[in-house]
């Protein structure tokens, strides 16, 4: 039931990079807010409401911290609110801090949602096109990590039952973890030799390697990529023409609201909200079909 998951692995990185590029380069509050909104919604559709709520507990203090500490380091601006240790705390500095915080939160939430969507499978696929050996190495490491964790647990239990370092003190735990790591290294290197044997047995290293994947590039993917290109083009042209210029220092400028700037806002809004809309649309459609059954 995950519409984003069905897309080709190239689609989401394009959206992610486009949104990140604009959000980080343009210091316009509308753009930051749109990016944040899109990021929040996207993160919510991917991680669920409960996780999002937990995330907010971290986001809100971070926001306040950044907004409030910026004036301590930055004394630019023309509207002093009060003086601290002989330095002016300006309205501009606080606003700038808040704006940067918005941008940071937007990027963080996009990053979180994106991290959920870009499964290791897709990462290996993207690497696999350009660098097959690197992709294979990535895949092998991913295969080994859970296996090593399991073995680490077994070693630590075996050692405990043999009466080695089974107390709970910090140094005993430290020493026993060292022992586990050291044993794990020996064990995993033996496994590595066996794995390499299995690779050779199945023809690894022959000339003319091909690569296989379960992903297909469908019409939807083409459509979404074209759409992203058009929207990004509109936004970049607008930025290039100064339609969304905004300054915090020395004084907070007026928010641009020409026809072109509205077009840029709209285009970026579409870009930012599209991934969550696809996902939400899918869920609504699902509920609709289910209600008909």
């Amino acid at each position: 039931m995950n519409a984003i998951d069905r897309l080709h692995p190239t689609v989401m990185p394009v959206y992610f990079l486009a949104i990140l590029l604009v959000a980080m380069f343009v210091s316009n509050p509308v753009i930051s807010l749109l990016a944040l909104l899109g990021g929040f919604l996207f993160c919510m559709t991917q991680c669920g409401l409960r996780e999002m709520r937990a995330e907010l507990k971290f986001y809100i203090p971070l926001f306040l911290l950044m907004a409030l500490t910026n004036p301590l380091f930055s004394h630019n601006g023309v509207t002093p609110l009060f003086f601290m240790n002989g330095n002016a705390v300006t309205l501009e500095a606080i606003t700038y801090g808040a704006a940067i915080a918005l941008m940071v939160l937007a990027v963080l939430s996009w990053g979180k949602g994106f991290g959920r969507v870009m499964t290791s499978d897709k990462l290996v696929y993207l690497f696999g096109k350009a660098a097959p050996q690197l992709a294979l190495m990535l895949s092998m490491s991913l295969r080994y990590i859970p296996m090593l964790r399991r073995q680490a647990k077994q070693i630590s239990r075996a050692q405990k039952v043999a009466g080695m370092y089974s107390t709970e003190s910090y140094f005993d735990r430290l020493r026993s973890t060292f022992r586990v790591i050291s044993a794990l290294i020996g064990w995993s290197l033996e496994q590595a030799v066996e794995t390499s044997r299995a690779m050779r047995a199945r023809g690894y290293g022959l000339k003319g390697h091909t690569s296989y994947s379960n992903y297909h590039f469908r019409r939807t993917d083409a459509l979404l990529l074209t759409l992203a290109a058009i929207l990004l083009a509109v936004v970049l042209v607008g930025i290039g023409m100064g339609a969304v210029d905004f300054a915090y220092y020395p004084a907070i400028s007026a928010l641009p609201h020409t026809a072109l700037s509205v077009a840029v806002y709209t285009a970026f809004g579409c870009l930012s909200l599209l991934p969550s809309c696809i996902e939400l649309g899918e869920q609504i459609r699902w509920n609709y079909y289910r209600s008909k059954i």
Partner: protein, 550 residues
């Protein structure tokens, strides 16, 4: 038509004087199912690896290996990799990638097969092996049986003509092992796939093989049909490895063809020993006093919201007992052992060790001269460069050993015949040798309770017989042993009591003779063969004795 020809193959490992293989010659015809067996260290693994050029060990090699008439060294790379498939012992070690689908495609990618063809072959193979259900899963999330099936499927996508398997079922539970062997048989029957299988679990494969070859100390001593080889081994120490029906036949001097399957064994007994009908093995009830493990109403689950693994478990084990827990995978046997060793904590119930509640043991006093556990994977016990260094570590565990460590190690090493292994690296030992060293390492802590988790996994018949002897000695010294095992034959041989574990509790328990003659499916081969003729006979030796009694 001959697919594989081996002529006068002699092989010596570097820095060794005695060859691992000596003048071995045989041929395998297209479509044959051949089983190669022999004691640990007889050279069967070496032989198998030599047949696959890509993984052949380094050393001095003489003689010829020909595949479809072409010398091995002349085979082109793709043929060498693709048409000879190899499946090894350890299900985990052979898996290369993190996802099942990628693992299936891996070999074909290496051969440079175009993606659409890979899609077709992988799809076909996944359907045939019943992999569709877990096609997208992570390889690490699979069970041991599934992993080995995946390894087989991953080789089969490359469409090999000859399949070499090195003890593929030794790390699997009996049900997964049966399924694996059945699949091999099916591949052989339905697709004419030529198979050379190295195995020590012969009960199942002996009757279905076309030919059996036996290696001893690097020499091929038998090569013939299963019946002929069984007859040839009649008085050989290797006869221990034969299927139960053949072992009973070997123990009796009756002049008739050797029975191989259970049914043939049954027919054989009824034909020749029907006059002994009704004979019974006397049942000795063990004297149960001095309980050392008392568990009452144990409930356990791994996480708050996961289902219960143990439900109201009651278990009492007395001093000097050998108590075997049998049952399917996931029934909670290993969990029980972990709870007895205080590695996991039940959320309800009482547990006393030596009469003392388990919570009252402070820090690691439970593991000092009291209770210890042999893990399923004994490699987890060894961290150092030699076995000896590892054993010396026991100083840290038992501080009051002062000066006695070396003498104790030497004493145990001699007693268990592992002196020659002490200076070796733990990972260079065979499964049976490692198990023995692990046991000795644990015995150095002078335990009075020994928990064993699948101790016979991967052991051949000879090592198993030695291990059974050691258990009997420990028992005589008053050590209490609780063992979790899938190996019914072994449990029947060494236990004082056996119990069947199902759905988080013990559903039946009793002396081995009572226990196995009461069960119809969960029982030994000898019991199945002699059922209806004799009462309570569960071991081949018991059947032989009952037949022989005048």
């Amino acid at each position: 038509m001959e697919l594989l020809q081996v002529e006068n193959l002699t092989f010596t490992y570097p820095k060794q004087t005695t060859p691992a293989l000596q003048d071995v010659s045989f041929t395998i015809a297209d479509g044959e199912f051949v089983v190669l067996c022999g004691a640990s260290g007889c050279g069967k693994s070496t032989l198998l690896k030599l047949l696959k050029r890509e993984i052949a060990p380094h050393g001095e090699k003489q003689g010829n290996i020909r595949f479809s008439g072409v010398a091995q060294s002349e085979l082109d790379e793709r043929t060498g990799a693709g048409t000879i498939g190899f499946v090894a012992q350890n299900p985990d070690g052979q898996i290369v990638t993190d996802k099942v689908w990628h693992e299936l495609a891996f070999g074909l990618e290496n051969l440079g097969v175009p993606a659409p063809v890979i899609r077709r072959r992988v799809g076909e193979m996944a359907s045939y092996f019943g992999i569709q259900g877990w096609y997208h899963q992570a390889t690490d999330a699979l069970s041991g049986g599934q992993k080995q099936m995946l390894n087989l499927a991953g080789v089969m996508t490359m469409q090999p003509k000859l399949l070499l398997l090195d003890e593929p079922t030794s790390q699997l539970d009996p049900i997964a092992a049966d399924h694996f062997i059945d699949t091999l048989q099916k591949l052989n029957r339905e697709f004419g796939l030529t198979i050379l299988l190295v195995e020590h679990r012969l009960e199942e494969v002996f009757p279905i093989a076309d030919r059996i070859m036996v290696l001893e100390a690097g020499k091929l001593i038998c090569n013939g049909t299963p019946g002929a080889v069984a007859a040839q081994l009649r008085d050989h120490p290797m006869s221990r490895c034969l299927p139960s029906a053949a072992r009973i036949w070997a123990g009796l001097s009756v002049d008739c063809p050797c029975p191989l399957t259970m049914r043939e064994g049954k027919d054989f007994l009824h034909t020749h020993f029907s006059h002994r009908k009704g004979a019974a093995v006397p049942v000795h009830q063990p004297i149960l006093e001095q309980p050392v493990i008392e568990a009452e109403g144990i409930w356990f689950r791994y996480e708050k919201k996961s289902p219960d693994v143990l439900r109201d478990l009651h278990l009492t084990v007395c001093r000097g007992e050998v108590f075997s827990l049998l049952g399917g995978n996931g029934a909670g046997k290993t969990t029980t052992l972990n709870i007895l060793a205080a590695l996991d904590r039940p959320y309800a119930g009482k547990l006393k060790i030596q009469g003392k509640p388990i919570g009252d043991y402070s820090k690691n006093s439970l593991y000092r001269r009291n209770l210890t556990m042999l893990p399923q994977n004994p490699q987890a016990l060894f961290l150092k460069q030699t076995v000896h260094e590892d054993m010396e570590e026991i100083r840290k565990s038992i501080p009051d050993f002062n000066g006695q460590v070396e003498r104790t190690i030497q004493f145990f090493a001699e007693k268990y015949a592992i002196s020659h292994l002490l200076e070796k690296h733990p990972y260079d030992l065979s499964g049976g040798e490692l198990q023995k060293c692990a046991l000795v390492k644990l015995l150095l802590t002078k335990p009075s309770i020994l928990l064993l988790d699948e101790p016979t996994k991967g052991m051949d018949a000879v090592s198993k017989a030695q291990f059974a002897k050691q258990i009997a000695e420990l028992q005589a010294e008053g050590v209490t042993i609780v063992m979790v095992t899938h190996d019914v034959e072994f449990a029947a041989q060494v236990s004082t009591r056996c119990a069947l574990f199902f759905d988080g509790e013990i559903v039946s328990a009793g002396t081995p003779n009572e226990f196995f003659s009461d069960h119809h499916f969960y029982t030994t081969a000898a019991s199945r063969i002699s059922r209806g003729l004799f009462d309570n006979a569960i071991l081949c030796d018991e059947v032989i004795t009952l037949c022989d009694e005048k």
